[in-house]
């Protein structure tokens, strides 16, 4: 730290000009890295079959190489709107449930003195590290026992559960930052705890609920193993599973175009969420992971 070699001093002197060249290149590489695969899939979904199969690849198709056929073929082959609806339903329901169950628990863990609070928190933290593959076998038992196969509940309940730890951690750190004065004042005014929660705390909590809800919605939309295992009826499948199972008319024909179209349609809702709520997503992820 105290000894500085001449080269290093030179590097410091040259730093601004180096930055001027390196930074734009680094930014461009970052953007390219993150966008290129998505853009390629987007481009493929709008190409004609001939343009898709042209070698060398067509990166800048002419107008007659562009078409909406791939989307049309996708809808002819599969009930893709159904898949989108299923994904929406399951993701929304499990988000509402995770918030409805998780936020009160987070409040209790942040504000009320519970015995065994540390054990509960430790449990919640450990559970975030469980991959779903360890759970599907036991859940399969429950699904069979309760006869929930091909029932949206077989997804809504596990999705609620896998989102609970994050909900509890994010909401707890939010409640801890919330000034306690209002709650104390409400108590002095004679509010009971439940009424105080509903009338005073809940309205202040809405932004944090939105932040958490976006994260849980994304996680539920993207889930794969449970959706693959518990739902076998074609019209009840969710987008990731249905997309992954898109096959051709014969084993030799892989429908690259419709697959690209399905990928684009299945990711659009999430792209929109990210574009609109970028700040909230970052905020939620960091407060959930770091402060937890």
């Amino acid at each position: 730290m105290t000894t500085t070699s001449p080269e290093n001093q030179q590097a410091t002197v040259h730093r601004p000009s180096v930055r001027r060249f390196i930074l734009p290149i680094a930014v461009a590489l970052t953007v390219l890295f993150c966008l290129a695969p998505i853009l390629w899939e987007l481009l493929t979904s709008f190409k004609t079959d001939d343009a898709i199969a042209e070698i060398p690849n067509v990166y800048f198709p002419s107008p007659n190489q562009l078409t909406l056929d791939q989307y049309q073929k996708l809808f002819e082959r599969r009930p893709f709107l159904n898949y989108l609806f299923n994904s929406f339903l399951v993701s929304l329901a499990s988000t509402v449930l995770a918030l409805g169950i998780g936020a009160p628990a987070a409040y209790a863990l942040a504000r009320l003195k519970l015995q065994g609070e540390r054990i509960i928190l430790a449990g919640v933290l450990i559970v975030t590290l469980f991959p779903p593959i360890l759970l599907f076998l036991g859940l399969l038992d429950i699904v069979r026992y309760l006869n929930l196969g091909n029932n949206y509940l077989s997804l809504i309940i596990p999705y609620t559960a896998i989102n609970l730890p994050l909900t509890i951690l994010v909401m707890r750190s939010f409640f801890q930052q919330l000034p306690k004065d209002l709650e104390d004042a409400a108590r002095v005014d004679g509010y009971s705890t439940p009424r105080m929660l509903l009338d005073i705390v809940l309205p202040m909590t809405l932004p944090a609920l939105a932040t958490t809800g976006i994260l849980t919605f994304i996680a539920a939309w993207n889930e794969f193993i449970f959706a693959l295992t518990f739902i076998t009826r074609e019209d009840m499948k969710t987008v990731p599973v249905a997309g992954a199972q898109l096959g051709g008319a014969s084993p030799f024909e892989i429908p690259f175009g419709p697959i690209a179209a399905a990928t684009v349609l299945g990711t659009i809702p999430l792209v929109l969420l990210v574009l609109i709520f970028q700040r909230r997503i970052v905020q939620g992820l960091t407060s959930g992971a770091v402060k937890g």
């Binding site: 993150c34 036991g138 859940l139």
Partner: protein, 301 residues
């Protein structure tokens, strides 16, 4: 009176917490405990799925099961490769996103996009990118003159492993960048100014200021990613299905095939138990080493 209020508060507290605990117990605790119990039984097509107590037979079988050891090896390679690549790349991207430049907001949004998209669909996109006939990777390599004929990326065990690693690095690096960026933003800039006055090079201030102060975020990112990578399923399942010839089959895929294809529930349960214990072990070792290096780092600063 105070006692009464405290008791009432406690009761409310439990009422608010119990639904969450119940759901977590049902979906997390029950399946693990159930797997432990089932792992002592033989439940497969050989006995018409009627459980027969066989003690530790399933575990003994696992020790002899070459396919299991192969999947464990694949899982280890996948985990070590993806997590270390993602950490380095995620750090680089976080450092870039932490600079001030025009359009930073948009670039930050773009940089979290891969993380938010459904893995199964992203796996389809990467299958297409690595396609042997029409894939972009081959097209670029051919245009650059680096290869003469297209490479069959997903048709060779080693190349297929590289392909799934690349796809996973693309998909999950943003998660690490987000966490590290948040950490970078919390480092006070006067620390860097003091370093610059001391004549430190960028690399030196990175080593002496950034890395030690970023360690908590690095630890957390590592723990999450280790666990996720160890349980990888959807990406590999869609891209290669574990093939070719088991070259990319991870423990998760083997568990799934054992249960859903071979209907060997007892053995599947034993695989779940062992994977769970290994995961606990990996996470415990990682957190032990990291907390030790954390202490050493904070001692140095």
């Amino acid at each position: 009176m105070v006692d009464y209020v405290r008791a009432q508060e406690r009761r409310t507290g439990w009422l608010l917490t119990i639904p969450a605990i119940a759901v977590l117990a049902l979906v997390f605790a029950y399946p693990i405990l159930r797997a432990v119990w089932q792992s002592f039984f033989t439940i497969n097509l050989g006995n018409q799925l009627s459980p027969a107590f066989t003690g530790l037979d399933n575990y003994a079988r696992m020790a002899q099961d070459g396919r299991f050891w192969n999947t464990l090896w694949n899982t280890t390679i996948f985990t070590v490769a993806t997590v270390s690549l993602e950490l380095v790349l995620g750090m680089g991207i976080a450092l870039v996103l932490n600079q001030s430049f025009r359009g930073r907001g948009i670039v930050r949004t773009i940089a979290i996009l891969p993380w938010a998209l459904p893995t199964a669909l992203i796996a389809l996109a990467w299958t297409w990118i690595f396609n042997d006939q029409y894939g972009v990777v081959n097209d670029i390599l051919l245009r650059l003159g680096l290869i003469q004929t297209g490479i069959n990326w997903l048709g060779n065990p080693t190349l297929a492993m590289i392909s799934v690693i690349v796809a996973d690095v693309w998909k999950t690096t943003p998660f690490i960048s987000i966490l590290l960026l948040a950490g970078l933003q919390s480092i006070p800039s006067d620390l860097y100014e003091a370093q610059a006055i001391d004549g430190a090079s960028p690399w030196q201030s990175f080593r002496q200021v950034t890395l030690p102060l970023l360690l908590p975020q690095i630890v957390i990112a590592l723990l999450f990613r280790l666990a996720q990578a160890f349980g990888i399923f959807d990406l590999i399942s869609v891209m290669t299905g574990g093939g070719p010839g088991g070259g990319t089959e991870t423990v998760s895929l083997y568990i799934y095939a054992t249960v859903m294809r071979y209907l060997d529930f007892g053995y599947g349960a034993a695989l779940v138990v062992v994977t769970f214990l290994l995961l606990v072990l990996v996470v415990a070792i990682a957190s032990f080493f990291l907390s030790r290096s954390r202490k050493r780092a904070s001692g140095a600063v």
